[in-house]
């Protein structure tokens, strides 16, 4: 799989390249001058408050909104071309999914293969293998015939991650991957993200949970309508930068995610 993802992809090229991207909705500016360049094999955290433009940035990367200025390239291609090449996978928040939809875990992961199938979407043996392999990696193979609604929040998250694995996307966009997941899922996902990085995938994680960013993001992007700061996590995570990102309020107070040990210190 590693070869497939890195095939013909030079290590000095950018997986994600956004150049001075501006997005506005009917005259209201949601994002301006946002620039970002991510190489293969990095994990990058996209940090900002609600309404800071994280989801707008994701939508622009997926081609759902057209930048009024600037451009976006995925693997050096136009967004739509990259999507057709199955380069981009989006892993949604749990809230964005209709959990009572009558599909099994297997069906959901198989949806990751649709783009590679012919237009009748009849799974080939290779598609079934890819789905099985993806389910094994997220440890859900035993639950493959369960309805998606019968899974716990963490298991559901893993199912959608498996869909991205089955798709063999080189760019993964994850929306709040750690919200509402159990400890086992959290551990498994962190391990998977590191494996993805070694396989040459690029992961962009949209979150306002700073502890996870600190733990395993190589790079971090702080945004509030534009890119405020961007670089190595250790350099960017300064109190001044975070203050700027969260409008002068301490993020821990804002989001109620103060770890217990910080109280007892």
């Amino acid at each position: 799989m590693m070869n497939q993802i890195n095939a013909k992809f030079p290590s000095d090229a950018f997986r994600i390249e956004a150049d001075q991207v501006c997005v506005d909705y009917n005259g209201t500016v949601a994002l301006y001058d946002a620039s970002l360049q991510l190489r293969a094999g990095v994990i990058c955290g996209l940090v900002g408050m609600n309404g800071a433009g994280k989801s707008t940035f994701f939508k622009a990367l997926m081609g759902f909104v057209r930048p009024s200025r600037g451009f976006i390239r995925i693997n050096g291609l136009e967004v739509f071309t990259a999507q057709r090449a199955q380069a981009v996978a989006y892993v949604p928040q749990n809230e964005g999914i209709d959990c009572s939809f009558p599909v099994s875990v297997w069906d959901v992961v198989m949806m990751g293969r649709y783009g590679s199938m012919n237009f009748l979407r009849i799974p080939r043996e290779s598609d079934k293998q890819a789905v099985k392999h993806a389910l094994e990696r997220v440890e859900l193979l035993d639950l493959r015939s369960r309805p998606i609604g019968a899974l716990s929040g963490g298991q559901r998250k893993r199912a959608f991650l498996a869909r991205a694995i089955a798709q063999r996307a080189s760019v993964l966009l994850l929306d709040e991957p750690f919200s509402g997941v159990d400890v086992r899922t959290e551990k498994l996902m962190s391990e998977l993200f590191l494996q993805f990085r070694n396989e040459g995938r690029t992961i962009l994680i949209s979150t306002h949970d700073l502890s996870h960013v600190r733990d395993f993001c190589d790079l971090v992007v702080l945004i509030n309508k534009t890119v405020l700061a961007y670089g190595e996590t250790s350099e960017i995570f300064t109190p001044e930068n975070l203050n700027m990102t969260f409008g002068g309020l301490s993020p821990d107070v804002l989001f109620g995610q103060t770890p217990a040990d910080e109280f007892t210190k």
Binding site: M62, G63, F64, F80, Q83, R84, A85, Q86, V88, A89, Y90, P92, G96, I97, D98, F101, P102, V103, S104, D107, M111, G112, Y114, G115, F119, L120, R121, S145, R146, P147, G149, A150, R163, Q167
Partner: protein, 289 residues
């Protein structure tokens, strides 16, 4: 009437009407249209398009009348007005501050009223009652051919694009992110809805056709967690209730459309009460296998 029921066996009850040409035709068309609408109803209920189904099925009315007056096939007029009404709903919603459900209600009643006015103004042999309430017992040969064609088209589209349409209903974001054109799927589903409304018009009429486009899907949704099985159950329940509805209508001389939809509603009620996993009186220990 009670004597009549008492004097015949169940077997006769089903077999006797088949000696009439018009009954054979009505049963065949009703079962077919029921099945087609049943299949589509899965997508309508899963996508949350019940109100949209109501709107489109009413909005095709002026299209049917205009097509009739111009000597064109029903379905073309229905298609134009069905899709047109949805485009108009989208336009009004975008350009004003009015909420979507209000706009839907506004547009479809407007179209429906236009249809009524056109029927009374255009001198033709359109039977208003036929359009409003359907009349499978009096369906003509040309209408049978027409309905068969539309049904075939709807089934073909739904079968060819079933995976894409399912994905579109389940997770449109993912569909778009892997390069599937969801705009086309959206309008495809709307077009199929307009066509199915015309087919359903033959059996239950415009007023009740929305029931054919919702109830079977809702019933099946209570009975299974599998999309394929849901399709099958919806088709079966819809076809069977259409056939039983026609029989009841024949034996007790009641309005056919009403009787079909009533049977469907009763089947839904049974599922609502006794569905194994999602019914009110569900068995206490149902394990996911």
């Amino acid at each position: 009437m009670i004597d009549l029921f008492a004097s015949i066996t169940v077997f006769d009850w089903f077999i006797d009407p088949l000696s009439h040409e018009f009954m054979r035709r009505a049963l065949m068309v009703s079962a077919l249209v029921g099945g087609v609408c049943g299949l589509l109803s899965c997508y309508m209920t899963l996508k949350g398009w019940a109100l949209m189904g109501d709107a489109v099925s009413h909005a095709v009315m002026p299209g049917v009348v205009v097509a009739y007056a111009l000597g064109l096939p029903f379905s073309i007029g229905a298609f134009v007005f069905g899709v047109g009404s949805v485009a108009l709903i989208g336009f009004v919603k975008q350009k004003s501050r009015i909420k979507e459900d209000t706009v839907i209600g506004l547009v479809f009643t407007g179209f429906f009223a236009l249809g009524l006015v056109l029927v009374s103004k255009i001198k033709s042999n359109i039977d208003l009652m036929h359009i409003l309430f359907g009349s499978p017992l009096g369906i003509s040969n040309s209408d049978v051919v027409h309905t068969l064609t539309i049904s075939g088209l709807v089934v073909l589209i739904l079968l060819l694009f079933r995976r894409d349409l399912m994905l579109y209903c389940f997770d449109a974001t993912h569909a778009r992110s892997i390069g599937i054109n969801t705009g086309i799927l959206h309008y495809m589903l709307l077009s199929v809805l307009s066509l199915a409304a015309v087919a359903g018009l033959q059996t239950v009429g415009i007023i009740l056709v929305v029931a054919m486009l919702i109830t079977p899907g809702a019933t099946a949704y209570l009975l299974t967690d599998r999309f394929d099985r849901m399709n099958l159950l919806a088709i079966l329940s819809s076809s069977i209730s259409s056939v039983i509805g026609v029989y009841i209508s024949y034996w007790s001389d009641i309005e056919t459309g009403g009787s079909i939809v009533l049977v469907q509603t009763i089947i839904f009620l049974i599922a609502f009460l006794f569905a194994p996993r999602y019914g009110i009186f569900k068995s206490q220990k149902v394990m996911h296998s």
